[in-house]
């Protein structure tokens, strides 16, 4: 329903943290890195941006289900393509992708790729 979602309403974006090898490492981040991350996360919360946030276990503890017609194949982790593995996520409420971009650029990371995806809102059926 186009009418409801006007240009001036906000959007929700999903930030997927693809941390590369780091995401599969069993070693926790250093206390310094952790403190910096927490400071940034707090800043986001205090700006009223964060709706939801979470971290994921390494892929060794995860499963995949592949669909092929009626067939379902279950694949156990760990998965090889570490660059594409999501290690954590945020759900943000922002006015624009640009606002998400400006926030994300300030994040205290020194590696990995972070993806911003706008959430599609289904309005009306």
């Amino acid at each position: 329903m186009r009418k409801f979602k006007s240009e001036e309403t906000e959007m929700r974006v999903l930030i997927m943290a693809k941390e590369g090898d780091q995401s599969e490492a069993a070693t926790p981040p250093t206390p310094e890195a952790m403190a910096e991350y927490q400071k940034f996360n707090e800043e986001l919360i205090k700006a009223g941006v964060v709706l939801e946030a979470g971290r994921l276990y390494p892929s060794s503890q995860s499963k995949r289900v592949r669909f092929d017609g009626k067939k379902r194949t279950v694949i156990d982790g760990p998965f090889a393509e570490t660059k594409e593995l999501v290690a954590g996520y945020w759900l943000w409420q922002v006015r624009s992708i640009d606002e998400a971009l400006e926030w994300l650029k300030r994040a205290p990371y020194d590696g990995g790729t972070f993806e911003i995806r706008e959430i599609l809102e289904f309005e009306g059926i």
Binding site: M1, S6, E8, S96, E102
Partner: protein, 452 residues
């Protein structure tokens, strides 16, 4: 200085191209400039409140602070498209604005020759030029800004406009569009609000003690006014304007982080989160209103409900009796917890309305209580309460009074009286979509009468 810079800002944002596709050749520079404009707009959105708040602490009042912040923005609009966005844009804006603040204070000093006081101001300004020192005090500054923009010395309209402007980072045009009034009206409200704050000698500070309670109530009132205008638009053709709800929610969430121990702040956030969860279900396919009990509850936003219930729990954990906002949140939570309309715990809602009526008695609360009583104990009991409100002068032109009365009469089989009430309600509302809904109800009553 003031008018030209705000015009520059709004103009630049308004005409900034939004298309990211860069054509080859000379178009490339334009595309880069457009990208810089988009970045500036986003950075302004993030930084403006903190910038204005930090400046207000230095110069002591928000009118000048806002003008200085706007000047920094104009400087960014001039420089960034050509030179690129600086590595630390927030620090750049703050640095630029503070240099101008110091210039301004020096100029005032020469003009006014108020040696001692101004001398201290310069000293303070120079001290806070140390950008690394910005950190701890940001929160106090923001809170001071909220309290000042919502100062009781200002009219409600002025508080709303000023809050959206200095805290929401919205342009005058955006605020005007939100409230469906001419841009000049909002511009004047903001100019007058700043002047009022100046002549009333309102200091930029966080009130304490008994004053704090009253001032906080004023802040919450402003936030809820903004939310409500979006949630059930009093005028215009759209039934809801989600942008205003989102703005109010953001302000509420920020405030809840700034003063985490105030139960009523958690309460208002809970109320707004839960009400906002229904925004999508509140509007039918062609923009018509869908009332609470008719809504498709699978379309309620579970994330917002969860956030709302968590905020309500925080309000309850903070101890003491619930205030009016937390109580209304508890009522909203009753609806949110019911999977179907039939499962609603109406007796509990009546009890909660009884409490609201004690704490914050008003004819509107009485009317809501009557609706709940009608659902819990039958339409006759509800109608009795509504009838007692018919002569209430403040409800004389309130369309929901005849709408509720019509609903109860209809349930009692008194279709002709119900039809007249719906028609009266339709004539009173200023919202186009709501008027149609009420006229439809009236027609249904007329049909029922024919059938009966």
């Amino acid at each position: 200085m003031k008018s030209s810079s705000s015009r520059a800002f709004e103009g630049a944002l308004a005409i900034g191209p939004r298309n990211g596709d860069a054509p080859e050749g000379p178009g490339r520079r334009e595309a880069a400039a457009a990208e810089a404009h988009r970045a500036i707009e986003a950075i302004w959105r993030i930084e403006s409140a903190r910038l204005i708040a930090g400046l207000a602490r230095v110069v002591g009042e928000i009118g000048t602070a806002e003008e200085l912040a706007q000047d920094a923005l104009v400087a960014a609009l001039e420089q960034w498209p050509a030179e690129g966005v600086p590595e630390r844009p927030a620090a750049w804006l703050m640095g630029t604005a503070k240099h101008r603040a110091i210039d301004l204070i020096r100029r005032r000093k020469t003009l006014e020759r108020k040696h001692e006081e101004i001398g201290r101001e310069v000293e303070r300004a120079q001290k806070s030029l140390d950008l690394d020192a910005i950190g701890e005090e940001v929160e106090d500054d923001l809170l001071g800004l909220i309290f000042t923009a919502c100062h009781p010395v200002l009219s409600k309209d002025a508080r709303v406009a000023l809050t959206l402007r200095v805290l929401g980072g919205l342009t005058t045009e955006e605020i005007a569009r939100g409230f469906l009034v001419p841009v000049s009206t909002i511009a004047q409200r903001i100019v007058r609000a700043k002047r009022t704050l100046a002549v009333a000698h309102v200091r930029f500070e966080i009130p304490g003690g008994a004053e704090r309670v009253a001032r906080l109530a004023s802040v919450l009132e402003v936030i809820y006014l903004i939310f409500n205008e979006g949630y059930s638009a009093t005028a215009g053709k759209d039934w809801v304007r989600p942008a205003l709800c989102e703005e109010a929610l953001r302000l509420g969430r920020i405030l809840a982080e700034l003063v985490p121990t105030e139960p009523e702040v958690q309460g208002i956030v809970a109320l707004m989160e839960i009400q906002a969860s229904r925004l999508g279900a509140r509007v039918g396919p062609s923009g018509e209103p869908v009332l609470l009990l008719d809504q498709d509850r699978t379309r309620w936003d579970r994330l917002l409900i969860r956030r709302g219930l968590a905020a309500l729990e925080r309000a309850e954990r903070l101890g003491g009796a619930l205030g009016p906002y937390a109580l209304q949140a508890a009522i909203a939570a009753c609806h949110a917890r019911a999977t179907t309309a039939a499962e609603t715990d109406w007796p509990r809602i009546v009890a909660l309305y009884d409490a609201v009526a004690q704490l914050a008695p008003s004819p509107v609360v009485e009317l809501n209580r009557a609706v709940a009583v009608g659902m819990a104990f039958g339409p006759a009991a509800g109608l009795e309460l509504v009838d007692a409100l018919v002569d209430e002068p403040t409800l004389k032109s309130y369309h929901l009074l005849p709408a509720v009365r019509g609903d109860l009469l209809r349930k009692l089989g008194r279709s002709e009286e119900a039809r007249a009430e719906f028609e009266r309600a339709a004539a009173l509302t200023e919202n186009g979509q709501e008027r149609e809904l009420l006229q439809r109800r009236a027609a249904e009553c007329a049909a029922e009468r024919m059938a009966g």
